[in-house]
Symmetry: C2
Subunit: 204 residues, 2 copies
């Protein structure tokens, strides 16, 4: 008897602070496996291939799509981002919990493709003013000005309605607490623990 | 902008330890309101009217049902148990969170009556052997032998599939941790926070 593995999808607009939140969450929750996404964008200072992303060529990305190796993929600011399917599937088959940090549209697609495995958490900025500030302090994506990124983020906010949870990242510690509560709570959800009741009754 | 109030329904078979778990949960979670149930059973040593239950007569119970004042009610071992509707409704209208500790069938009914407000948590014993032991150490309900209560509990276990969460009460502290996680997590669920996204976009 093992609990079913859960696919936690963390998303939200650029500037919401997903990456920072997740780093803290991983320090506090046991048994989480981070699934590294693939991207065609250039590697930034401080990033490492296979850690932040698998940085791959357009040709390689095309091939992975063609071979059905991507669970989901989206284009953003001229670059592409995708989730390699095999690693996620292998971990879930082993009853392990997986964390994906992906784009808002990709997250909606994963939730639709795997509704019985997925818990989708939307990280939102406390206000658009604050989001604007954060985009200012953040290293710019290539080939994209701040105004466009801001307008894109507002559109991304509307994706939240398709998620399971909404966490506003105002105070980092409070935000991390909430995501930790969500992950630990979902591990007790009936849909992931159906065998346990029968097991208690059967074993006496 | 206020978050919607949530109705947390805690249930499970006799001997699962719901009462003990809830006492600890109330020490650790802020903003929870316990809704006191009504019953026709006799008051036990250590219990207080209006605290553990409203201890009312059969006539009064009949009247409350007739007047539509019960959210749900069930019979068990010749006694009746019910949830007065007004107190629950008033708290939810005020955007407060409410906790009901009720019988398994009643919990299923509340979940069906108010699916958009209710989070149902099932507390289960770790094994039937352990449940048998706990019934032994527990003050007996009037007019009901242990064997019948044990068989009833097994039947109640099967109700778990209709709940949102399953928490096995093996170690008390771990069980309390899990219920705390569930309550804090659900406060961030999209269905209870729909206004927040629109509010962030509107206010800028």
């Amino acid at each position: 008897m093992s609990r079913q593995g859960i696919l936690f999808v963390i998303s939200g607009p650029s500037g919401a602070g997903k990456g920072t939140v997740l780093r803290e969450v991983f320090k506090r929750v046991e048994g989480l496996n981070f699934s590294v996404s693939a991207t065609t964008r250039k590697i930034r200072a401080g990033e490492a291939d296979g850690v932040n992303y698998f940085f791959i060529s357009d040709d390689k990305f095309d091939k992975m799509i063609k071979n059905g190796e991507m669970l989901e993929f989206v284009g953003k600011y001229g670059n592409r981002y995708g989730t390699p399917k095999d690693a996620v599937k292998k971990l879930l088959d082993e009853h392990s919990d997986v964390v994906l940090e992906i784009e808002t549209v990709g997250a909606t697609n994963v939730k639709r493709l795997m509704p019985n495995d997925t818990v989708a958490i939307f990280i939102a900025p406390p206000s658009l003013t604050e989001l604007w500030e954060r985009l200012d302090h953040r290293e710019a994506e290539e080939n994209c000005d701040k105004e466009l990124r801001f307008r894109t983020s507002i559109g991304e906010m509307m994706c939240a309605y398709g998620y399971d949870y909404l966490v506003v990242n105002d105070d980092l510690n409070e935000c991390v607490d909430k995501v930790v509560h969500i992950i630990e709570a979902e591990r007790n959800r009936i849909q992931f623990n159906k065998e346990i009741i029968q097991n208690i009754i059967d074993k006496g």
